[in-house]
């Protein structure tokens, strides 16, 4: 499969999944009482953005296998580096919380941090290797 076709397939799933994630998060956060989203109902409602997140990771998994071995290698390097950034940040902040009584960090933000780190590193590696993806 060409990189362009793989990218198209990726974004065809990623964009709707991210819209579902965003809309569901906003509805749960701000429209809860109006929609009677309270108590136990918040649990199934919260599953909606979680499922959107799972779909996002599935789309990424499929993208990495759709592209050829060289492009896959570049993305796997970027994924590992993004994971390293995430682990280092989470562990460092955790140590600050334990030993220096730093304020608690909302773990909700770890996923955006991972995507930002991965995206930046993938862009740099792709540029170095002359890739357009």
């Amino acid at each position: 499969m060409t990189p362009e076709r793989a990218t198209y397939r990726y974004f065809a799933v990623l964009i709707p999944a991210q819209i579902v994630f965003l809309v569901a998060s906003i509805v749960i956060a701000y429209g809860g009482p109006a929609l009677r989203l309270e108590g136990w109902r918040l649990y199934p409602a919260t599953l909606v953005p979680i499922l959107a997140l799972l779909v996002t990771f599935w789309a990424h998994w499929r993208f990495v296998w759709d592209v050829d071995e060289f492009i896959r290698l570049v993305h796997i390097k970027a994924l590992l580096a993004g994971l390293a950034v995430l682990m280092i940040f989470a562990t460092s902040w955790g140590l600050f919380e334990v030993y220096a009584k730093a304020p608690a960090f909302p773990i909700f933000w770890l996923t955006p941090l991972f995507w930002a780190a991965y995206g930046l590193i993938a862009t740099v590696l792709s540029w170095r290797e002359g890739l357009s993806v």
Binding site: M1, V67, D68, E69, F70, E129, G130, L131
Partner: protein, 65 residues
């Protein structure tokens, strides 16, 4: 790993994109192999050798032990 992919490709008058299409890989992958920035998998190396109708060891130089 050194290889003769560029010379073999050019002898057939194929572009990197055309060779990539025959092997179902991207032009960038062919470019990386030719430049020695990527050692292909064994499967891709065999497909390259078969396409060029050359023994594998004539396409790729075995690295020194």
């Amino acid at each position: 790993m050194q290889n003769r992919v560029k010379a073999l490709r050019q002898a057939r008058g194929w572009s990197q994109a055309a060779l990539g299409e025959r092997l179902d890989v991207s032009r960038q992958t062919i470019n990386a192999i030719e430049a020695g920035r990527h050692d292909p998998s064994l499967a891709l190396a065999f497909r390259l050798a078969q396409l060029f109708e050359e023994p594998l060891e004539d396409v790729f130089d075995a690295p020194a032990p």
